[in-house]
Symmetry: C2
Subunit: 251 residues, 2 copies
DNA sequence: TCAAAGTCTGACCATTTGGTCCAAGTTCGA
DNA sequence: TCGAACTTGGACCAAATGGTCAGACTTTGA
């Protein structure tokens, strides 16, 4: 870290195009993002002006670059400058859009949150358990294949002790989690599922699917393959689904 | 990063008590550590001299402090000074024992490697599959409870793309992995296990068990409990074992 | 007992880096 | 068309940090 104490909160001099994810109190913004994650996520009314549009695009590019850099180097390892270069603008210019590294980080986290939360949100009591679980596994595995950086970013944040995400975990995420626990509970009660501890089942599915993104290097080094190989993806879906549904003990 | 280009390789002026984990080419040292990981890990003949003993103790303390700091902040987030303070000595003094941050990081990784590798190494074809798997799960979960920092450090390293561990992954770890894949294969062929893709089974067990260490914050936030609660630990062992062996589909 | 070897510290240095500032464009609406 | 608002980048600043150095203090072994 460097520069004038990252803690000092000083209002920006000029009116920057403050968009969704920049509130200084990152936690609050994240909680809000998480809460609306289940919903269809209305695209925040895209402004019409040509200029505003370009600005929005620029911010998108920054966010994308930041995600990829943060996910690989972590908050500390990533430098604003590296992100700026990756996004194709100057450091000072990036700082015009996002007033600080932390703010950018929060924005990235915030953006990832909905994608990360979405699959579980689709869990419905009315569904067939096996199908619902299969769908969840496939969706999460697809996420691990298509947006591994999101998964990695969250893993990184967890490993740090989730200083920014903790309020989300304790609030909106716990709400979703509890709801889904209830769903699983109901399935078990109805005899539609073997007796399992619902929380552990959910943890297990997360662990199994995210592993392919977070430990992709290891998976690739040991098996020589990755989810981007179509065959391997199918194999993984099949293996995880079979494991969760039927286990490995022979009948 | 800072200071004179971390790349410049210059020999230390004085003879520092060079111990097991400091070779500049971290990769090589790590590979060696991994290879001897299966064995009983002979304690490298503890030197007798009172002085040498104290030195060894100091190094142990440094390694411990470094593990906990690195595991929480990552290589970039951790500062030598923070580690030194945690170990109870001055930065300059720490640098006397480990000539650079990277060297220290490698030493920590190296030390963790054997612990990380051990449980899988105990997999034997002659065992009963269910028992062997159960034992593996329990051992890994115990690791997640007793040494979560090791698991986290490795997770962090994987997320970075494993620049230092890649040779280990491709070499010694792959060797162990392949051997265990063969064991599982044999079990399946003998009908002692349902037909599974062995690599995915191993990945699954790792994922399931390490999750409780790497995502401990999340687990705690959502379930309110952690592996250090005896009851929760038992629950986790039971849940993961049941899942892997029998799945959740009702019979 | 005494010098050689080992251990430890505070001062110091150079680089990286988060962030600021200002002046020079650019775009937009009236 | 013109001024106000918005963008952009180069120079700059100060803190943090990895690492060095020379000298002081200890321990050890002959």
């Amino acid at each position: 870290m460097a520069g004038p104490s990252a803690k000092s909160v000083k209002p920006p001099r000029r009116a920057a195009p403050r968009a969704s994810g920049q509130s200084r109190s990152g936690a609050r913004a994240l909680v809000k993002a998480a809460q609306s994650a289940g919903e269809t996520a209305a695209p925040v009314s895209p402004p019409a002006g040509r200029r505003a549009q370009a600005g929005e695009a620029r911010k998108g590019a920054i966010l994308g670059a930041a995600l990829s850099v943060f996910a690989r180097l972590g908050l500390d390892g990533a430098s604003i400058d590296a992100i700026a270069r990756a996004a194709g603008l100057s450091k000072a210019n990036l700082l015009y859009y996002y007033p600080s590294k932390d703010a950018l980080y929060v924005a990235v986290l915030e953006q990832g949150l909905s994608r990360w939360l979405a699959p579980l949100a689709r869990f419905r009591r009315e569904e067939d358990p096996a199908e619902a679980i299969g769908a969840l596994i496939e969706a999460k595995l697809a996420m691990s294949r298509d947006h591994p950086e999101v998964s990695r970013l969250f893993a990184l944040e967890m490993l740090r002790g989730a200083p920014l995400l903790k309020p989300v975990l304790a609030g909106p995420l716990k709400a979703v989690f509890d709801a889904k626990v209830a769903v699983v509970q109901a399935w078990v009660a109805a005899g539609r599922l073997a007796p399992v501890e619902p929380p552990h089942l959910i943890f297990s599915i997360w662990a199994l699917t995210q592993h392919y993104a977070d430990f992709a290097v290891q998976v690739r080094a040991l098996s020589g393959r990755s989810l981007s190989d179509k065959g391997f993806m199918e194999e993984a879906v099949a293996a995880v689904t079979a494991l969760v549904l039927d286990g490995v003990r022979p009948r």
